[in-house]
Amino acid sequence: MLPDATVVRSILSAAGVHDAPAEETSLGLVCRVPGSGAPGVLAALRESELDFRILVDMLGTDTGEGIEITYHLRSLSRDEELYAKTALPYDGDLHSVWNTFPSALLQERETAELFGLKLVGHPNPKRLFTTEGLEPLLRKSVPQRSVEEVRQR
């Protein structure tokens, strides 16, 4: 299930990301890559001997300091999973990885829209779910209706 952390580190440094931490967490093996380098690093991971051919999932998280993008990669030939995390500033650029993983096409649009990021390098960087002008819903600064507001409907 878990790939070898040292192999992942060597792939990352070959891709130009030095001193990238790759550590085991409750999630699995998580490596951190810089935001603008994500497409290159994911492509390197895909082409490496670890053979991460599938982008299973992709999500953003509002950490309070910025948006953290998590890429969930899966290697079918070795049955291993790897999580790559990228920290982006609010309103930052989300560099598209659709060249490497077409399955990111809609998910990137969704993430960019719901976290208020700017999609870079995407063939169709439109909003996916919500109408124009809506606040980025999944940011913690955008409140849900409170219990009182619900009651006063």
Partner: protein, 401 residues
Amino acid sequence: MTDPRDLVTDVGLLAEGAHDPGSPPAGIRRAPTGVDGLTTEHLVINMGPQHPSTHGVLRLIVEVDGEEIVAAETSLGYLHRGIEKLAETRRYNQLGTLMDRGDYVSGMHGEQAAALAVERLLEVEVPPKARWTRSLVAELTRIASHLIWYGTFGLDTGAMGQFLYAMRDRESILDILEAISGARMMFNYIRPGGVVADLPAGIDGRIRRFCNGFDAYLDEHHALLGGNEIFQARVQGVGEIDADTALAFGLTGANLRASGFGWDVRRERPYDAYPQLDFDVPVGTTGDAWDRYMVRMEEMRQANRMVRQCVDGMPEGDFTAKVPKVIRPPEGEVYASVESSRGETGVHVVSDGSDTPYRYHYRAPSLFACQVLEEILPGHLIADAVMLIGSLDIMLGETDR
């Protein structure tokens, strides 16, 4: 091995003005050629969100040359309820109510994914009876969901009879599930730690009776639709998705297996009672609509087999582990996935130690099926588009969330 870069060809063909999201749709565009002042035009047709065959509120913007599609774009969001945001204010044992409304045709699988994720955070051991009960209801739900797919897929081809016959069988499953969980679709039955209540007395007899009758009904369903030459002519060779495309676009479940790649979460990442259950994973060859049809039909038979095994091998014991009423899992982040009727339904939970998730992400398999549409549709007729949407079994409740 094909490079996925080669696979993406026409994505966003309609979106030339895409950087200005407010721009109006392209409308009718003139094809460049014309003879003696006569020109032919491509027609841009808006298929959905209120089209009879888009299975809910999928909107496809298709550019057609006559009846042949030259470009397609999916447009989602007509059922967006913000489940991921809502989940951030729901306590962990309330998550099932949201997951039910994601993929509302197979609610049990969503609940199962949420429960597995929370259990992984809490690191609780689920008693065997709970695990077997979960597999039992999950497989019953799979049959019910595939029956809806079977019925509506037939409706897409224009046949009507099988829909009602499928509903008859689905009705008996829903009756059983209602007796078990108390609701017909929004079950809220699987909770972190186990299930909410033990199986009611006498339900095993009802399930056995259903299982015994269902195999014959399944043969009849297959003979009625799959045996029909017109239906075969309609689906064979339509919407072929090869394994590389399927993997690159993140297809899972029956759609991936029909392309010849036998990945099944129940096999590769076993959960609940699946390690102890004996089942086969059907795998197609070419990945056309016919293969997807055959794989799903066989999955129903396998699910029926598993239901029978679950009833026969149901262990004694507690139906739930000891889980606090207000669940406060430790800080951490987990991903748990189940094989739902539509593919790998995953739940990614980030916990900050409070009683609500900090971030709750729902991996919806239908979203990936939607994005492969843009890739596969060009070159097909409008009638094939309907077949393709139907065979991919798209559930808009979970794509939009």
